[in-house]
Symmetry: C2
Subunit: 586 residues, 2 copies
């Protein structure tokens, strides 16, 4: 597939629509994936049989396994997905067989402020319209499974309040006594819809009840999404769904989806969603796109199954984790790799002149507003001051025993002196290399240097180690993350949080890993603290359980799980022509 | 494809899973559909390019066009889908090339009381699991498009209350002044979830508003679903979406999805949903499955596009309409055929001994409870008394100038004398023929007689005529349906209904057809009035507008648009094994 590059670079959708796509079955067979394991969904998308990655010990380990993470980003994002795609294309340019493994983006933000999420410029996943809208319906399946469970809980409360013990016995059931104030599951929708953040349900007459205050999250925040991302096969998916704690009874005992007899139907709804999706890069490499758990309240990584498959069919598997190395990468290591059994070989840490200047004290960066001059003109002082953030992130990567390559995602306004400053600081802080990458403007050609640097860094034997053993108490694990990853002086638990931790230990959930829920804009819990904050303590307001996903998530600060639409939302630009061709999706 | 029949007949899912499926691309090419118009979604489902049916004048008219309807059903249903599939299989047995065109069922009821909806016994659409769960995601796409529009309206109310006229002008927008009490769109979810019938949204802080009472419908009740079903091509879909009246401003003027600049994005979300899905019958015929609008508040028919495609590639297209001839069939003729330009050739009216006995005064028939003896033993008196309902339905079909064949959907407890009684009454009432059909137990072999009778009835030239011209006033059209179809003495409009009718006429909506919303259990508005009620008047409580779908729908009686889950819901039986094979879906 050849794509003719233009300068200035056209819009993402113009580039994507000008590409000549290869048939996805050809991409799959090029990787050596058996035809019987490939289900085409139209000519350019396929689902791949999850059985190919079902058991880690059986899957032939072939690939070097690369994680792409970033420094603490600005609200504009620093181009992690674009770099992931660019790096895979760069590997292509140096003659290596590489695939990408990415998250499927939530559809809600596509219509809000964010636009597309399939990479950008000449480093994109195509068809980008499908990538951004529905794909093969996996997020919808997650929503349906989640909402079935939520409906099951409310319906049970209704029927138990209405009918006798004897009536339930006659049906072969016994009462669960769910506490209407103890429901632990809300509802979800894949939409930015602020008015659903806090709702009252069950109004009307008795048969429309129970009357309760409740909430909606965006679908990717569902525990079901985290479960789908971490499941190793169908049986594991089924039993994880069953373990979800979705309510508490009137005595405070946890009630699971299994107790409500709904986990089997939830698994049936997810039978196709368990199969990873295969798409392609603009330069014809395979790209697995599968699952998209939230990166703050969940672990923010694409699926275990996709990666397990991918490592069997490529020399390099490049996978992105959510937000910065303190967030998605730490969870990638301590949660996802622990589930998958896969061992990472190298990390690519994406940095931009823009974000480093912001960490050095630059003015606020706001989506939808023009960038202040500090960001578009050379400013070595701001940049130098911001380098603390880069150094801290490199320290986090080193803590896990993995070599790091810094990818300087270039912008047209950057200067050579600025790049040199970053490179020097990165090498001083222990990076294997630091390379300017021009994949947005030049595709794989612009990332060939980066690919060579990553090849070199990943060549050795991995000395990967987890941050903590599962045997630590929940409190110890939280303190270790706060101290060794975030650089906090300690952790302050509210009384409620401490009580929950004690209860979870006594209920047998103490051996689960930790999935921290905090802001991505700072290494601390406070988005205003830039660079590498020192002399602060991490406040844990609340602790929640995701027993099916298999982690405990402490909440540090305000975490929104339902975005809103802005005053001039992105949907206003989107349209179709008479042939169904989409425009205005950026 | 050969399927070995067993006696007693196994469960639906056992039969479906024992079938050897043909590759769907083979089914498509067998029909002569060009390969370039076929997108496989896995090996056994395909989407067919809507362009094949895009323009009625261009589509080669080839097939006889058969509608399957029924007498007024019991809450158990009388086997209309099963008969539709059986008839197609029956045509196969007599050497004819037939396809089915069916609605996609809502997924919600699958988990409630209803179970599967892909036919039954040896007359089913397969794969039945996919038919019942997600299929290719069209209903999810409808939900997303609908909910995007709902979020857009609430977000606009929020932002207009917060920002100045000048701020909107700077963004190139002007205020619409939507009335928070004039929002005409709720939200939807494809789930039986009673607590969502009446909700309060927008609680929390100001940024989580506006605070309003609102509601959720099940997704198939969305106007977007009706629009998708009636659209003739992408441009028509796009402009219908734009015409949806989703709110009123503070002066009472209608505001459309176009005014909110969201119709283009909605169309983008539906670009694949516009393509009909192709599946297969147990005996290897093609079955188009596309769109599933509610049969009471909407028109209850599968898509115009699927039928337009189907008539170009088969000798017989058999399509089902919702509920009885007073409901789905009348709307099939006056709404769907008016949109499609297709002219029906014959009607199959499904009747059962059970339903006719219920109309004759038999005891109540309740889902989940054993049938009273009156229904399982010969009872010619009850049956004879119920024949008025059959006669009335045959009168309705005759009113449209179309020949009717009565299909007696047989049950093991029926007797020959009962069948004879039905046949005599049917012929007396003007049916072309009346045939006992055993497709449930015997597949196509059991429906070969029915197919022959339908072939004969459809052989002549169609003398089809609409019930009313669009030039009639809305009130005249409603009165004509009530009088000539339902047998009412007249119509009683509430003051509110009369006022709405007047307003709609003055706003230019007076030339739309009527889509009556009433119970399916009686020819009247009162489910308790069995047989052919006489001496009653139809009360119209309220009148609503579906400007995008292109009809006005008067509400007669209580119509629920959000089912609930029963005390022992069907989801409790459903599970998957380690390979992802589904069980317990009936």
């Amino acid at each position: 597939m050849a794509i003719e590059r233009k300068n200035p670079v056209p819009s993402d959708i113009e580039i994507a629509q000008s590409a000549e796509l290869e048939r996805i079955s050809d991409i799959a067979s090029g990787l050596g994936i058996p035809a019987g394991a490939v289900e085409e969904y139209g000519p350019y998308k396929a689902k791949i049989d999850w059985r190919l990655g079902g058991a880690s010990e059986k899957a032939p380990r072939k690939a070097k396994y690369i994680n792409v993470t970033a420094i603490s980003p600005t609200p504009l994002g620093e181009g992690k997905t674009t770099t992931t795609v660019g790096l895979v294309q760069g590997f292509g340019k140096i003659g290596k067989n590489a695939v990408a493994a990415l998250r499927q983006p939530s559809m809600g933000p596509t219509f809000g402020i964010k636009g597309g999420a399939a990479g950008g410029g000449y480093s994109q996943i195509i068809p980008m319209e499908d990538f951004n809208l529905h794909l093969t319906g996996d997020i919808h399946a997650v929503s349906a499974a989640h909402n079935l469970c939520a409906a099951a809980v409310d319906a049970r409360i209704y029927h138990e309040s209405r009918w006798s013990d004897g009536y339930f016995e006659k049906m072969g059931l016994s009462k669960l006594n769910p506490d209407p104030h103890g429901v632990a599951i809300g509802r979800v929708v894949d939409m930015n819809d602020r008015v659903l953040r806090h709702v009252v349900t069950g109004m009307g007459s008795r048969a429309d009840g129970p009357l309760r205050q409740s909430h909606f999250d965006i679908s990717v925040a569902s525990e079901v999404m985290a479960i789908l991302a971490l499941a190793s096969d169908m049986a594991d998916l089924r039993s994880r769904l069953g373990r979800m704690v979705v309510a508490y009874d009137t005595k405070g005992n946890p009630l699971t989806a299994e107790d409500f007899k709904v986990a089997g139907a939830m698994a049936a709804l997810l039978k196709d969603a368990l199969k990873p999706n295969l798409l392609q890069t603009l330069e014809g490499q395979g790209a697995f796109v599968h699952t998209g758990p939230f990166a703050n309240i969940a672990h923010g990584n694409s699926s275990v199954i996709a990666d397990r498959i991918a490592v069997g069919y490529a020399d390099y598997v490049v996978t992105e984790s959510g937000f910065g190395s303190d967030m998605g990468m730490e969870k990638f290591f301590d949660i996802k790799c622990r589930s998958s059994g896969l061992v990472p070989d190298a990390v690519v840490l994406v940095a931009t002149v823009r974000a480093l200047k912001a960490h050095g004290g630059g003015p606020a960066v706001t989506p939808g507003k023009p960038l202040p001059a500090a960001y578009t003109e050379e400013n070595l002082e701001l940049l130098g001051n911001g380098m603390a953030n880069l150094t801290a992130h490199l320290g986090i990567v080193r803590r896990f025993g993995i070599p790091a390559v810094v990818a300087i995602n270039s912008f047209p306004t950057d200067t050579q002196a600025e790049w040199d400053l970053i490179r020097d600081a990165a090498l001083k802080a222990g990076a294997s290399d630091a390379v300017v990458s021009r994949h947005w403007a030049l595709g794989g050609e612009g990332a060939a240097d980066l690919a060579e640097a990553v090849e070199k860094a990943a060549a050795g034997k991995s000395e990967f180690k987890f941050l903590y053993p599962l045997e630590n108490t929940l409190t110890e694990k939280i303190e270790k993350i706060a101290g060794e990853v975030y650089g906090a002086d300690g952790v302050d638990f509210t009384a409620a949080a401490a009580e929950t931790l004690e209860r979870l230990e006594s209920q047998g959930y103490g051996k689960l890993p930790i999935c921290m829920a905090k802001t991505q804009y700072s290494l601390s819990h406070d988005p205003a603290l830039k660079g590498a904050p020192r002399g602060w303590r991490l406040p844990v307001r609340e602790v929640r359980l995701a027993a099916g996903a298999g982690f405990v998530y402490p909440i540090c600060g305000d975490i929104s799980t339902m975005p809103g639409l802005p005053s001039k939302p992105a949907f206003m630009n989107i349209d179709v022509d008479a042939e169904g061709r989409i425009s205005g999706l950026f």
